[in-house]
């Protein structure tokens, strides 16, 4: 699962969730913790894309009349458009802010409910693929972000300590 190939002498861990991998080298004792950099970078890339997509959508729904018209099309009242847009902006802030995991879990749950409901709403009024494909694509970004967030949570922070003999 986690591979530390940075050093020639690094061990590959086969543990499910190793806390510390201690590697003895001839010159130094290196402690490599197991959070993979790739997963962290991947998480932030998809999360940034997701937040940009949702943030822009919320902004457009608040400010652009032609986007706001979609809510009327789906049969929702106008105040719901304003409420949902602000809720989306709050959710985006919680995804990028350093808040407790439970709060992030609620934000992810809220986005999942919103995205699933949006898809059902489009299908319920008989919209074609090119209308609801955006919700679906945002849903894919959501899924990647949520999956990687839990992968990041499951592993401790990457700290590399080196001490000479």
């Amino acid at each position: 699962m986690m591979r530390t190939n940075a050093h020639e002498n690094s061990m590959e861990s086969t543990l499910q969730n190793p806390i510390l991998v201690v590697t003895e080298t001839t010159a130094a004792k290196t402690i490599v913790q197991s959070r993979s950099r790739g997963i962290v970078v991947g998480f932030w890339i998809v999360t940034a894309l997701f937040c940009a997509q949702v943030g822009f959508t919320a902004y457009a729904q608040l400010r652009l009349p032609q986007v706001a018209a979609m809510f009327t099309h789906l049969g929702f009242p106008d105040y719901f458009r304003v409420e949902l847009s602000w809720a989306k902006l709050l959710g985006v802030a919680l995804l990028v802010a350093p808040v407790p995991a439970r709060i992030k879990e609620w934000a992810y749950a809220g986005f999942a409910i919103t995205l699933a409901s949006a898809l059902i709403a489009h299908l319920a009024v008989g919209d074609s693929v090119e209308v609801w494909i955006w919700s679906a694509a945002t849903g894919v970004l959501w899924g990647l972000s949520y999956f990687l967030w839990h992968r990041v949570q499951a592993t401790p922070l990457r700290v590399t300590l080196s001490a000479a003999h």
């Binding site: 105040y79 879990e105 609620w106 059902i120 709403a121």
Partner: protein, 144 residues
């Protein structure tokens, strides 16, 4: 493990059949939320005259009742069954959003405190229940 065994040697273990006060309070707080959500699910899915009237008043499309009804059934299952942590967390989040959304909707169309108060109270109960559940889980982990 060893500490647990030593503790048992000194003090008799608490009988497992007797619920702790905190557990009782948890269910007192949670029961109204469960009941409201279960009844709400049935009303939403049946589209009974009361929810039709509320939805017409708030201006929501009727198909949202089907989405809400199914979501509420899932939420009740998540809250009653002792499932994985994440299922419970999502059920709480979903129920809280429904109550908070209802309160915001009534407020937005200019309804008075009589209409806003009820969903707001249920949102508060949901929040307290979720916080207490976190504590109970923490206690259970410490005991085992």
């Amino acid at each position: 493990m060893n500490m647990h065994a030593a503790g048992q040697a000194i003090a008799a273990p608490r009988p497992v059949t007797m619920p702790r006060p905190r557990t009782i309070i948890y269910w007192v707080v949670t029961a109204p939320v469960l009941l409201e959500t279960a009844v709400g699910a049935q009303w939403d899915l049946a589209r009974n005259p009361f929810v039709r009237e509320v939805f017409a008043h708030l201006g929501y499309p009727l198909y949202l009742l089907t989405i809400l009804g199914i979501a509420k059934v899932l939420a009740v299952v998540g809250l009653v069954a002792p499932p994985a942590r994440r299922v419970k967390e999502w059920a709480y989040a979903g129920v809280f959003f429904v109550y908070a959304g209802a309160a915001c909707s009534h407020y937005a169309i200019g309804d008075g405190a009589d209409k806003i108060g009820m969903p707001l109270a249920f949102a508060a109960l949901t929040f307290v229940s979720s916080a207490m559940w976190g504590r109970l889980r923490h206690d259970a982990n410490e005991r085992s």
